[in-house]
Amino acid sequence: MAATAPLSLLVLLLLGPGVWGQTEPPRDSLREELVITPLPSGDVAATFQFRTRWDSELQREEGTDHSFLRYAVLPREVVCTENLTPWKKLLPCSSKAGLSVLLKADRLFHTSYHSQAVHIRPVCRDARCASISWELRQTLSVVFDAFVTGQGKQDWSLFRMFSRTLTEPCPLASESRVYVDVTNYSQDNETLEVYPPPLTTYQDVVLGTRKTYAVYDLLDTAVINNSRSLNLQLKWKRPPGNEAPPTPFLYAQRYVSGYGLHNGELSTLLYNTHPYRAFPVLLLDTVPWYLRLYVHTLTITSKGKENKPSYIHYQPAQDRMQPHLLEMLIQLPASSVTKVSIQFERALLKWTEYTPDPNHGFYVSPSVLSALVPSEVAAQPVDWEESPLFNTLFPASDSSSYFVRLYTEPLLVSLPTPDFSMPYNVICLTCTVVAVCYGSFYNLLTRTFQIEEPSKGGLARRLANLIRRARGVPPL
């Protein structure tokens, strides 16, 4: 499954009218929240979000200048504590108070999934959008593995997950909440129990499905004052089985096919598992220049037939300057697998261009899929400022579909690599020296020098002379 999204530290810097907020936001306010979602497999996902805003002197310009749009990916980055520490320092309370006390590195890196992000964007300060505030949003998602961390038990608590409990909200925060997904809890067949029982619940549509959340507001004194700390506990009433998790409507897979170090093929499989609805997907591929794409081999097939994309934008690579950029709008038929494949040739790099570990292979960044995936539930009109922050991660623009951006897995491609060992270098060097010396000496020794008499010349010369004589110019 494509659920193993890239774990790159992704910095999205977006400037455009699409992301401008609607109403006047409060200044220098911190909102923090934690969403805990039990997964059908028994694992638990936890998503932290922190948002701060401050005023800026920047004036809004009309329209979008596309020359300011940048997209860059570092497919190799593996997150570790070195990424977490500076990330935590951006928080107003650091990790001293509020939800951020749970951010303990030794627990966060015992998870099966870890994704950390920083989003910066300008937002309007008023309705006319004359002045601008900056918004900094930090998100951190982890999935706790029931197998590894739970040691067989599948019940969860904050203490088990983070080895900490919540004691107080961050004093700077205007809002500090914990949401627990209890969607199954509210149905007849109870599978899940949350302790302490929530004071309020919140219902919303996330990713096309209706969800119920138990809400714990840390600013509400009743939540913490009872025991001076909040240790949320999740108990499975009916332990989840070994069934495969439900498949999403859209997922993707990417791989390199072929073998050998000469040619290959990049293949992306796009799955639409919706039983009756087709939907379009925008596929964005950036491929490094050292994979020379053969664009004429681009084939898109779904259900055994050729699928013609309604829009293609291709920007060829320039060696050592810019990568290939391939953008396509593809219609995915209902319940189908669409295969997008393009062949490439592996280029030879200059010997200084190889990385220090050339035999590891070279990374190809993930494809990005943007799609409006049909949802089963009609979404309610949402008040953006009142709704929780996680809504902005999955904004619903249409009542019948929701927006999803998927990243496929990055690829590791081995290029033809010279043997960089010491004997190889010595052999190369000595061979070059010997060849140069021997070649020039041999040339000198065997060449016979003689003075060449100017010859009559060939037919061309005679013709030229004829013409020259006719023109009255001295012959060659």
Partner: protein, 562 residues
């Protein structure tokens, strides 16, 4: 004529009834899926089917269809760019259930650890190598051999290394390691060293080619045993047949080896915990690899687990053998040149062979006929057996597989009649010089082929050179012809194959009688053709299209009409 009057049909029917009565072996796919899922893996299946070009009598299969089951252990917080494979080949002959059990136990243990940086694929393949081939082709999304298989649902990036496990009992006395892969490809020596390290660490008894490791290299016994192991490895490598399920991974540049648990009559036995520990150690080490294995040797010969012969040491031996061909060709060239320059210039060396009239220049045209005809015989040898099996089975009382082997032998023998059929094509202007020219061409052809083979599969190249070079160098249409003919026949590719079989069995300490040897030879011929069509082994086309026509040229030279 009743249906059962024909003995072959009767035998076939009896075998069929026997197969139908016996419980048909099949992989317990549903159980495996459930178990792997309960261990916490991502489980996928792949079905495949393959119609062999002709019935495989050794493994009793023709229309093969099966299901591979594999589970992927996703490394935490990693992006699935690299993976390791632990594969267990299962088949009707070797159910390998202990290995499956050990694999599942390892999977359960590995799942609880957090240090994995690479995904681990636990793969159970049905029908041994056919299943592996189907899975590998689907994983790399290529179709090399005409296998029909369903596409894979789950992948885990570039495979860095693979270990195949074969266990026949739940206690083992020793672990045998096999490295030789398809077409004589070898894994990086570091993988073998890794295995050897954990063998020593765990105190396991490890063997190579089924031979114990010599302890004492100072006395005569140790080196002698080393030579035996080395010869066994060379023969195995020369055969080009994968020596275990790992062999097919090497084509995709996945370093791989096979571990085989052996349960002999030795007193001290290990349980599977010891084997599992060694495997865990190997996987943890491979997990830590930053780059692919590349620092160590890819070309080597092994007299023992802890010793190897590097390419720099063994290559000169083959080089010197091929030098014989080169020098012989040079000699012929000089002779031809001397004969060609005419009497007045060649008068400077009156003692040499009587100069021939200058008008008798060797036309290239006289070489074309034997070259073409011998290549045509080679092509027939390559194409006819499989193509004409049904015709042969219709007209003669043989089964398809037998028909293939017999056609092979028939075409081979028919090729020996070539000299008598080529002569009427040839103009006999300058018999003396035209045989020299033909031999010159044949020598260069042979030298080139052997050099190319030696570069890719040293053992095959060297063994072929060692057998074919003397006969080729000595061939000429004068002198004691029957003696030379006998020498040439003894050094023909088929005779070399037969000799290799006898040597192999003797080194395995299971010598063959002549009749057994012949039967094994026929089986090996069929297997060789099958391996080419099912896995893409190159030995059969190499012999049929390259070396046999070349050898026929020498045969032609020998029977040159003077």
């Amino acid at each position: 004529m009743g249906l059962l009057s024909d003995p072959v049909r009767r035998r076939a029917l009896a075998r069929l009834v026997l197969r139908l009565n016996a419980p048909l072996w099949a992989l317990p796919v549903a159980w495996l899926e459930w178990t792997m899922r309960s261990v916490g893996l991502e489980v996928y299946t792949q079905s495949f089917s393959r119609k062999l070009p002709f019935p495989d009598e050794t493994h009793e299969r023709y229309m093969v269809s099966g299901i591979n089951v594999y589970g992927i252990l996703r490394a935490p917080r990693a992006a699935s760019t690299e993976s390791l494979v632990l594969t267990v080949p299962c088949g009707p002959e070797s159910p390998n259930s202990q290995a499956v059990g050990l694999m599942l136990a390892l999977a359960a243990h590995f799942r609880g650890q957090i240090y994995w940086a690479k995904d681990i694929i636990f793969l159970v393949t049905e029908h041994d190598l056919l299943g592996s081939e189907a899975w590998l082709e689907a994983y790399h999304d290529v179709n090399v051999t005409g296998m029909q298989s369903s596409p894979l649902q789950g992948r885990a990036g570039a495979i860095q290394a693979a270990v195949a496990l074969e266990l026949s009992s739940d206690v083992v006395t020793s672990l045998d390691v096999a490295v030789e892969g398809l077409n004589g490809q070898l894994p990086n020596l570091d993988l073998l060293n890794l295995f050897q390290t954990f063998c020593q660490k765990g105190g396991l008894l490890c063997t190579l080619q089924g031979k114990l490791q010599p302890q004492d290299w100072t006395s005569a016994d140790g080196p002698l045993q080393g030579v035996q192991t080395l010869l066994l490895m060379a023969l195995q490598q020369a055969s080009g047949h994968p020596h275990g399920a790992h062999g097919l991974f090497l084509r995709y540049r996945v370093e791989a080896l096979t571990l085989r648990g052996v349960n002999s009559f030795r007193q001290y036995k290990y349980d599977l915990v010891a084997v599992g520990k060694a495997l865990e150690g190997m996987f943890r080490k491979l997990n830590h690899l930053l780059e692919r294995l590349h620092q160590s040797f890819f070309f080597y010969l092994l007299p023992a687990l802890s010793r190897f012969v590097s390419i720099g040491l063994y290559m000169p031996a083959a080089g010197f053998l091929l030098l014989v061909l080169g020098l012989k060709a040079l000699e012929l060239w000089v002779q031809l040149h001397e004969a060609g320059v005419g009497p007045e210039e060649a008068g400077g060396t009156p003692g040499s062979s009587p100069p021939l009239p200058a008008t008798q220049r060797v036309g290239l045209a006289s070489l074309v006929a034997p070259l073409l005809i011998s290549q045509a015989v080679g092509l027939a040898l390559y194409v006819l057996p499989v193509l004409g099996q049904h015709v042969a089975a219709q007209h003669f009382p043989v089964a398809e597989a037998e028909a293939v082997v017999l056609t092979l032998l028939a075409v081979y023998a028919a090729g020996l009649a070539l000299p008598h059929s080529t002569h009427w094509v040839l103009s006999t202007q300058a018999p003396d010089r035209s045989w020299m020219a033909l031999k010159l061409v044949a020598l260069i052809y042979l030298a080139l082929q052997l050099a190319c083979i030696t570069l890719t599969n040293f053992s095959l190249g060297f063994l072929l050179a060692a057998t074919m070079v003397p006969g080729a160098a000595l061939t000429k249409p004068s002198g004691p012809r029957p003696l030379r003919a006998a020498l040439l026949v003894l050094t023909s590719p088929a005779a070399a194959l037969l000799g290799g079989l006898f040597l192999w069995q003797r080194l395995q300490e299971a010598p063959l009688s002549l009749a057994e040897g012949w039967r094994l030879f026929l089986a090996v011929l069929a297997q060789g053709v099958l391996a080419h069509h099912t896995y893409g082994a190159l030995l059969f086309p190499l012999l049929a299209l390259g070396l046999f026509p070349c050898w026929l040229l020498f045969w032609n030279v020998l029977f040159w009409k003077r």
